[in-house]
C-alpha cells in the first residue's frame, strides 16, 4: 500500500478512525473530515470528544445527537476554504441517549419502550450494557449512512482502551441479547416451559439460590422486555457489519509511536485482517522526526541565541533528548510499517503546543493531506 491520504480515501463513503485512547483520534477524525469537505465533499464527522474543546473550536458545543453544520467562516483566515459543494457537519455522540433512542425506535409500541427504559436493571446498569458506547457509535453510523445526506461519514471511535471493543460491538450486543434460551428459562411458562424441560428448572432453582429471587425476577423482566427489540438489534447489527466490510468503507488506524498505542495498533490491524475488513492505512501522530545530519555544536546554537551560552546548553540538551525520542520513534515506525503492511504511513510530527483549536486542526490537516514531495518536505522541516 502506497500513497497519500487523498488517494487512500478516494471513493470512500465511510472512514472509521480507530485506535487506542489518547493518540489524537478525535483531532485526526476532525482534520480528515475538514480536509474532505474542503475538497468538495459533504462530510459528517461523528465524534466523541469528552474534553469538548474540539466541539468548542468548531462551534458545535451545544450539539445534541443530530448533525450540525459547521460554519465555513470558522476556517476563514486559516487557509481552509470549504466551498464548491463541500459541507462540514459534525455531531457529538451521547451514548446513553442514543441507546435510549434506539430502544424507542425498535420497540414495537410505547408500552414496550417504557417497560425497557423504566426497568431498574436497565436504568441502573445500562451504561454497562455490552459496550453500549461502541454499539451506539455504529448505530449512529448506520443511521447516517442510510439517510443519504452525506457523501462521506468520518467516524471517531469511542476512547476504549481496546480498539477491538468497537469492532466486536455488534456481535457482543447480539450475543448479549441472544437470549432465546435464556429468556425461556428465566420465565419458564407455557410453550417455553415445555420446550426447555426439567433439566433447566433444576438450573433455575440453583440460580435463584445463588443470586437471590428478586434479582432473578428483575433480570427476567429486563430480558423479556428487551426481547421485543431483539430482532431489530440483530438486523441492525448485521447491516452494520455488512457496511463495515463494504468496499466504500475504510479503517484508518490512528496511533502514536508510544509502545502501548503502537502494539494495540498492530493487534487491531491483525483483527481487521482476520475479519476481512478494509484497512486504509496508518496515521501516526506525535512523531519526533530524526534529522539526517548531526546535531549542531554548542557554539552554533549560542550564535543563534545572541551568544547566551547557558541557554544554548539547555537547548542542546533538549535537542539531544528529542533526538533520543526521534530515534525511538523511527524504530517504532519501522515496526509499525512491517507489522501492519503499510510501508508508507501518514506521519504527523509532534507539533508545538496543544492541538485543540481550529488552528491546530489546520496544522494537523496540512500534514495529513500533503502529497508527494510536499509531504516529504514538510516532514524534513519538522526534523530534529
Amino acid at each position: 500500500m502506497n500513497g497519500d491520504l487523498i488517494e487512500r480515501l478516494a471513493g470512500k463513503r465511510v472512514v472509521v478512525c480507530a485506535g487506542s485512547g489518547g493518540v489524537g483520534k478525535t483531532t485526526t477524525s476532525a482534520a480528515v473530515a475538514m480536509g474532505l469537505a474542503a475538497r468538495g465533499a459533504r462530510v459528517c464527522v461523528v465524534t466523541i470528544d469528552p474534553a469538548r474543546r474540539l466541539a468548542d473550536a468548531l462551534g458545535i458545543a451545544q450539539l445534541g445527537g443530530e448533525p450540525k453544520r459547521v460554519d465555513d467562516a470558522r476556517f476563514a483566515g486559516h487557509g481552509i476554504v470549504i466551498g464548491d459543494g463541500g459541507e462540514l457537519w459534525a455531531l457529538m455522540l451521547d451514548p446513553k441517549r442514543t441507546f435510549d433512542e434506539l430502544i424507542a425506535t425498535l420497540a414495537p409500541d410505547a408500552a414496550a419502550r417504557d417497560e425497557i427504559l423504566e426497568n431498574r436493571i436497565y436504568r441502573e446498569l445500562s451504561s454497562a450494557v455490552a459496550g453500549s458506547q461502541e454499539f451506539t457509535a455504529i448505530a449512529k453510523l448506520y443511521e447516517l449512512e442510510r439517510s443519504g445526506r452525506f457523501d462521506v461519514i468520518v467516524l471517531d471511535t469511542p476512547p476504549s482502551r481496546n480498539a477491538l471493543d468497537f469492532l466486536d460491538a455488534p456481535d457482543r450486543l447480539t450475543g448479549f441479547l441472544e437470549g432465546r434460551a435464556l429468556r425461556m428459562f428465566l420465565a419458564p411458562s407455557g410453550l417455553a416451559a415445555k420446550l426447555v424441560g426439567r433439566g433447566t428448572s433444576v438450573v433455575f432453582g440453583v440460580l435463584r439460590r445463588v443470586t437471590g429471587v428478586d434479582l432473578m425476577n428483575d433480570l427476567s423482566g429486563f430480558f423479556l422486555a428487551l426481547s421485543g427489540v431483539l430482532d431489530g438489534f440483530r438486523e441492525r447489527a448485521a447491516a452494520v457489519k455488512a457496511l463495515l466490510a463494504d468496499d466504500g468503507t475504510t479503517f484508518l488506524i490512528v496511533t502514536s509511536p508510544e509502545r502501548e498505542a503502537r502494539e494495540e495498533a498492530i493487534f487491531f490491524r491483525g483483527k481487521l485482517r482476520e475479519a476481512g475488513l478494509p484497512f486504509g492505512g496508518l496515521v501516526v501522530n506525535r512523531v519526533h522526526i530524526l534529522a539526517p545530519s548531526a546535531p549542531p555544536s554548542l557554539d552554533e546554537i549560542a550564535a543563534a541565541l545572541d551568544g547566551d551560552a547557558a541557554l544554548a546548553r539547555k537547548a542542546l540538551r533538549t535537542l539531544d533528548e528529542f533526538r533520543v525520542l526521534a530515534a525511538r520513534d523511527e524504530s517504532a515506525l519501522a515496526r509499525l510499517a512491517a507489522a501492519t503492511g503499510d510501508p508508507d504511513p501518514i506521519v504527523v510530527p509532534q507539533l508545538d503546543g496543544d492541538v485543540h483549536d481550529v488552528d491546530g486542526l489546520v496544522r494537523v490537516h496540512r500534514h495529513l493531506f500533503a502529497e508527494g514531495d510536499a509531504r516529504a518536505a514538510l516532514l524534513a522541516g519538522a526534523a530534529f
Binding site: F176, A312, D352
Partner: protein
C-alpha cells in the same frame, strides 16, 4: 486494599507495580492484582507470556501477583456458595454462562469480589494466606469508578439474597477509608486531569466516605526554561524564519517545543491541584526519555520515590 485507577495509557500499571515492589521491600506481604485480558502489570514485572490466570504467583521477597478473570472468579464464588453437586450442575450449564455474559455489571462485581477475597484476614480459598496489602490495578472503564460502584449498584439492584449480601459486604469495604485507599494516576494533559477531577466527584457522590487518597501525575516535563529564556527562544525562532531547517535552528525549535509543552504541563498540574484542593496530595513523576519499560530496580526506586 489499594485501588489504583486512571485513564488507559497514563502509567497506572507501572505505578501499581512500583508500589507493590516498594511495599514488599518494606516487609509487607503484598499482592498486585490485575484484570485478565490485560497483562500490563505482568509486563511491568517482566513476566510477559505467562498466560495463567487466577493463580497467586509468588515473585519472591513478599511480592505476589494475580491476574483475575471473571469466569474463574465466578466458578470460585459458586463453589463457595453451593454444595458440590449443585455447583457442578451450574458449572456445566450453558444457560448459566449466558446469564453471566448477559447481566450488566456482573463481571465487574465478580472481579472486585475476588480482590475483596484476597484482602480478607480469613481467606475462604482453602490453604490461602492473608495479605497485608492488596493493590488492584483497576480496569480503565471510562471513569474508573464503574468497578468501584459495581458491588453497591448490584447490592441495590438485587436487594436481597446472596448476591445482594456479597455486594453489600464488598461495598462496605470499598467505602471505608480505613480499609480501602483509592489512588488515581494521571498525566499532565487535559483529559486525564478532567477524568481525575470527575473521578473525585463521582467518589463523593457514589462512594460516600471515600476521597482520593492521592494522585500521581506521570511523565511531567522538567520545565527547564525561565520566562526570560522562553522569550529569547521565541525571538531566535522568529529570526530563523526560512532557515528553520538549519542545525542551530533545530535546537532552538526543540527548546521552544519543550518549553511550550512543559508550560502546558505545569498549567495542568496546577489546575489539578486547584481542583482537588489541599486535602489530596499530588505527586509528580518526571518524564522518562527512554520509555520501553522499566527494570526491576527502576520499579523499586520509583516505588520508593512514591512512598517517600
Amino acid at each position: 486494599m489499594l485501588v489504583v485507577t486512571g485513564k488507559g495509557g497514563v502509567g497506572k500499571s507501572t505505578v501499581s507495580a512500583a508500589l507493590g515492589t516498594a511495599a514488599a521491600a518494606r516487609g509487607l506481604r503484598v499482592i498486585v492484582a490485575e484484570v485478565a485480558a490485560r497483562d500490563d502489570v505482568s509486563r511491568a514485572f517482566g513476566e510477559a507470556g505467562d498466560a495463567r490466570t487466577f493463580v497467586e504467583r509468588d515473585l519472591g521477597d513478599g511480592l505476589h501477583h494475580i491476574s483475575i478473570d471473571p469466569e474463574s472468579a465466578l466458578e470460585e464464588y459458586v463453589k463457595d456458595q453451593l454444595p458440590r453437586g449443585l455447583a457442578d450442575v451450574l458449572a456445566s450449564s450453558r444457560l448459566f454462562s449466558y446469564l453471566v455474559a448477559a447481566t450488566p455489571g456482573l463481571r465487574e462485581l465478580l472481579t472486585v469480589g475476588k480482590v475483596w477475597e484476597l484482602a480478607q484476614p480469613d481467606r475462604r480459598t482453602p490453604g490461602a494466606h492473608p495479605y497485608d496489602l492488596v493493590i488492584l490495578d483497576a480496569p480503565a472503564t471510562g471513569h474508573g469508578v464503574a468497578v468501584l460502584t459495581a458491588p453497591g449498584t448490584f447490592a441495590g439492584a438485587a436487594r436481597v439474597g446472596p448476591v445482594a449480601r456479597q455486594g453489600g459486604k464488598i461495598h462496605d469495604m470499598l467505602v471505608d477509608p480505613a480499609r480501602t485507599a483509592i489512588l488515581a494516576v494521571a498525566t499532565a494533559e487535559e483529559m486525564p486531569v478532567n477524568e481525575t477531577l470527575s473521578l473525585r466527584d463521582a467518589l463523593r457522590t457514589e462512594l460516600g466516605g471515600q476521597d482520593l487518597a492521592a494522585v500521581v501525575v506521570n511523565g511531567v516535563l522538567p520545565g527547564r526554561f525561565r520566562s526570560a529564556e522562553a522569550r529569547a527562544l521565541a525571538a531566535a525562532g522568529e529570526a530563523a524564519g526560512a532557515g528553520a531547517g538549519a542545525p542551530a535552528a533545530r535546537a532552538v525549535r526543540a527548546a521552544r517545543v519543550e518549553e511550550a509543552r512543559a508550560r502546558a504541563h505545569r498549567a495542568q498540574v496546577s489546575r489539578l491541584r486547584r481542583g482537588l484542593g489541599a486535602g489530596v496530595p499530588v505527586r509528580t513523576l518526571p518524564y522518562l526519555f527512554e520509555h520501553e519499560g522499566l527494570s526491576g530496580d527502576q520499579l523499586a526506586r520509583l516505588g520508593e520515590e512514591l512512598l517517600r
